[in-house]
């Protein structure tokens, strides 16, 4: 049974539809990410789930309870859905303890609940601090503790890490991830950062133009995107022309196994998606003279070095596929521009429409 379910949800402003029939199933206790570019309707979706706005059409339910279906509408204060907006939105007129205890009863505030919550998010000593004295990461933790104080049935996070520095972001993200796991609260995280979605969530839904275009486990989405646009949105990709036959794809990179498509194996011509990390690159001269020369010949046109790895742009020789191929290699394998190489593809590839 899914904890949070959104069915055929429509919402627009001033005659312009923002959400057009969103379908979303968030399993109980899971962390689900809604991934999309800015302006795709992510925040609107969260605001509807939180109850700040009403749906035009469709249904939102939490467990067995209908929150909004056009007729019934449960006010936000009666949904018990926690909400952590961008930038935290802490109450500036209250101290940290006042923020965390906002939703609690007087007795609970007097007791040790606030202290426990603060300790849970790792800032047990900051209860009497004023909000503007906190760092960005601390503010996020307070916002999270405040939302968790009421033991919400679902928790909504709206780009909670986007205001943090890159170095801090990974750290806070991991901590929050661990905490949510431990609490087992059903969570919807909205983000435009595909790395964040893939690394944090059990379940990812991609929102595009007001519709969920695909949802599933992170690896599923990454390996089997619904279309070329989605493939590119989730990570770097090579689109290679192929001729299909009996579950294999014949391409310039050789004959490659096809991932088991949900339907029949495709026929005739088409495109396959090859992720850059599926390409192995060796310097042409180093190729062992004993074996037969394998793989596609190419020359490095550009090298983007990231430290832990590098992305090589390789032009096939003689010119085959029109675009340069992208290959991800270990950082120490970053090769100078102009190096002649051989490219070997491995692993199954995915056919795209």
């Amino acid at each position: 049974m899914s904890a949070l379910s959104v069915h055929g949800l429509w919402k627009g402003y001033g005659g312009q539809s923002v959400l057009r029939g969103v379908e979303l199933e968030v399993p109980a206790g899971s962390l689900s990410a809604v991934l999309g570019l800015s302006g795709c309707g992510k925040t609107t979706l969260l605001r509807l789930i939180a109850g700040f706005e009403r749906a035009e059409r469709g249904e939102i339910s939490l467990g067995a309870i209908t929150l909004d279906d056009g007729r019934t509408y449960v006010a936000p204060e009666r949904r018990n859905v926690g909400y952590v907006p961008q930038e935290g939105a802490l109450f500036p007129h209250l101290d940290v303890a006042g923020n965390v205890g906002f939703g609690l009863s007087r007795a609970e505030r007097r007791g040790g609940t606030v202290k426990e919550l603060l300790e849970m998010v790792g800032i047990g000593s900051l209860g009497s601090r004023l909000v503007h004295e906190l760092s960005g990461g601390e503010q996020q933790r307070v916002a999270l503790a405040r939302a968790l104080a009421l033991r919400p049935r679902a928790l909504l996070l709206d780009e909670p890490f986007s205001s943090l520095d890159a170095s801090l972001r990974t750290h806070v993200r991991e901590e929050v991830h661990g905490l949510l796991r431990q609490q087992g609260v059903t969570t919807v995280l909205v983000t435009h950062d595909q790395e964040e979605a893939l690394s944090m969530a059990d379940h990812v839904a991609v929102l595009r133009d007001g519709r969920i275009v695909q949802q599933g486990a992170p690896a599923d989405l990454y390996e089997r995107p619904a279309d070329a646009r989605l493939a590119g949105f989730l990570g770097e990709v090579n689109l290679v022309e192929a001729r299909f036959s009996e579950g294999t794809a014949a391409t310039a990179l050789g004959v490659l196994a096809l991932r088991g498509a949900p339907g029949d194996a495709p026929d005739g011509h088409g495109l396959v998606m090859v992720r850059p990390e599926q390409l192995a690159v060796t310097v042409a001269e180093e190729a062992s003279p004993a074996g037969p020369p394998e793989g596609l010949r190419g020359r490095i046109e550009q090298c983007r070095y990231y430290g832990h790895d590098a992305l090589l742009e390789i032009r096939a020789e003689p010119p085959g596929p029109s675009r340069a191929l992208l290959a991800r290699v270990h950082g120490e394998q970053a090769l100078p521009v102009g190096t002649a190489v051989r490219i070997l593809a491995h692993g199954p590839v995915t056919a795209l429409e």
């Binding site: 605001r47 939180a50 109850g51 700040f52 009403r54 749906a55 035009e56 056009g70 007729r71 509408y73 006010a75 936000p76 204060e77 009666r78 949904r79 018990n80 859905v81 926690g82 909400y83 907006p85 939105a89 109450f91 500036p92 007129h93 906002f102 939703g103 405040r146 939302a147 104080a149 009421l150």
Partner: protein, 530 residues
């Protein structure tokens, strides 16, 4: 069954579209409608009263009163004063904000303080020096000296908040410092300058006391004479309507002009102080000019008040009556400030949180008293209470209501800027934490806008405490406020007896005027009304 279905469907659709639109915050709408109604009521009764005698009579009155003379008096006064205020205001603001003139902080305070001295007290100061000080030039001088801070304040704020990057860019494109100021900076401060000039003109049209002292005939003086001496409410109301039309024309003119020079700040980059122009040897001249302005605008009224208090000769100061007057003033002003602030909350809430045509209309109407002389509102209220609510006539309640309507725009400005800074996101989070609408208002919105409520209260309190014209018309019989008692003594030429009352009024409003000067800057940063 099946025949019922379409109707049912329609019903649910209707309720659907209603509820799914922004749900109407009923309390706010009711409060906003009450505020707008309170503003429109006196105006409506002005019209009712004026047309009671028919159109022919109105025409005859307009001719008899030589409205043309009054118009000419108002126009030539407004033209000269507004131009002088613009020159003095911009010049002083530029010296203080953009040059290295010495003692800038001191000037910034001294130049604003005249705002805390009621215009009729300034007129009193001059005439108590020279009894022959009256007529057109006297009126121009007195009004310029008391109103120029209305230009100085917003222009100084605009200059201080100016993005120095723009001027630097102009300089890097080959414009000299003077050219950059003329071509760029003037454009940037244009809205502030126009806004200030508008306030000056509206202030001139509304002023009564100073012109009565200086014996200069304007609409307000004529209206007051008709009403108080001639007991002719029809004539008074007819003239008031002409005055309202002039004010509305001024307001419209400002709106058209201010539409042109839009300003914008390119990026939210961090603020830096703008570079100051080194005056060199001209510093002495600059200091002299500022000192002269401060001496005339501040020194003369304060000095004369001091003189009359010390050498007034009326050693038999009726200290009980000054206490009683101060008590009444404080009571009326505080009540009006509370009422006005309470009315401003729903208007500001609607304007910021539920913006649409209706709420915009409510807001616009609520700002209307800014263009309405106190005399006009008082007359409208008198016309209303005499005919429909006689128990209200000349009661404390009526005076308090008049103050509250008259200074509602000030209260709205105060509440609105605070409301604009309080993010609605916080209220939403509050609701997701289990607090309902009213609880969110009490626990989140109210604490967040508290500084704005305080500012609104203070602004209305000061303005009410120094209000003369409406008070003269509406005060309960036998009750005197500081302003009316001062007025009684001044018109009897008992300057010594009048001075302590004026001094007390100045004391009440000087400190807040100083605070206002600092607040104006933050308001201009966050965007004021409109």
């Amino acid at each position: 069954m099946s025949t019922l279905a379409p109707a049912e469907h329609l019903g649910s659709r209707l309720s659907h579209t209603w509820s799914e639109r922004r749900r109407w915050p009923l309390v706010s709408v009711a409060g906003g409608a009450l505020a707008a109604g309170a503003v429109l009521l006196p105006l409506a009764f002005l019209v009712v009263q004026a047309q009671r005698s028919g159109w022919g009579e109105v025409q005859r009155l307009l001719l008899r009163h030589s409205v043309a003379v009054l118009l000419w008096n108002s126009v030539r006064l407004a033209a000269a004063c507004t131009a002088l205020c613009a020159v003095l205001g911009v010049g002083a603001a530029w010296l203080v904000e953009r040059t290295d003139v010495p003692a800038r902080r001191l000037w910034a305070v001294l130049l604003v303080l005249p705002l805390g001295i009621p215009d009729f007290v300034v007129a009193f100061g001059w005439i108590s020096i020279d009894p022959g000080f009256h007529g057109y030039l006297a009126a121009v001088m007195v009004m310029t000296l008391s109103l120029y801070p209305l230009v100085y304040l917003p222009v100084a704020a605009a200059l201080a908040n100016l993005d120095p990057g723009l001027e630097e860019a102009a300089r890097s494109l080959g414009a000299g410092p003077w050219k950059a100021f003329a071509k760029l900076t003037m454009r940037q401060i244009w809205p502030a300058l126009l806004g200030g000039c508008l306030l000056v003109t509206l202030g001139l049209l509304a002023e009564y006391g100073a012109f009565e002292i200086l014996q200069y005939q304007t609409f307000t003086v004529a209206i007051f004479t008709e009403f108080k001496l001639g007991f002719d409410t029809v004539a008074a109301c007819t003239l008031s309507l002409v005055l309202v039309m002039v004010s509305v024309a001024v307001l419209g003119g400002e709106l058209t002009l201010s539409g042109r020079g839009r300003t914008f700040r390119p990026g939210p980059g961090a603020r830096r102080g703008a570079p100051r122009i080194a005056l060199g040897r001209r510093r002495i001249g600059a200091v002299g000019a500022l000192a002269l302005l401060a001496a005339l605008a501040l020194g003369v009224p304060v000095g004369t008040l001091g003189y009359w208090i010390l050498h007034g000769g009326s050693s038999t100061l009726p200290s009980t009556s000054i206490l009683a007057a101060a008590g009444h003033t404080a009571l009326f002003s505080a009540a009006a400030a509370i009422l006005s602030t309470l009315l401003a909350i729903p208007v500001a809430t609607l304007a910021i949180r539920h913006r649409n045509r209706l709420t915009l209309l409510i807001e616009r109407i609520s700002y209307l008293p800014m263009a309405l002389p106190g005399l006009v509102i008082a007359l409208g209220l008198v016309s209303f209470s005499v005919r429909y609510a006689f128990s209200l006539y000349q009661s404390s309640a009526e005076l308090i209501i008049a103050y509250a309507i008259l200074f509602l725009p000030l209260a709205i400005v105060g509440v609105r800027s605070a409301m604009a800074q309080a993010s609605p996101r916080l209220e939403e989070v509050g609701r997701s934490l289990g607090a309902n609408r009213s609880s969110v208002f009490l626990r989140i919105t109210l604490p967040l806008i508290a500084p704005g409520l305080g500012a609104a209260f203070a602004l209305v309190f000061i303005s009410s405490a120094t209000e003369l014209t409406a008070t003269l018309l509406l005060r309960p019989t036998g009750v005197n406020t500081l302003a009316t008692q001062f007025w009684v003594y001044t018109t009897n030429f008992s300057y010594g007896a009048a001075a302590p009352y004026a001094a007390l009024m100045v004391a009440i409003s000087a400190v807040p005027a100083y605070l206002l000067s600092r607040r104006m800057r933050t308001i201009s940063r966050t965007g004021g009304p409109r």
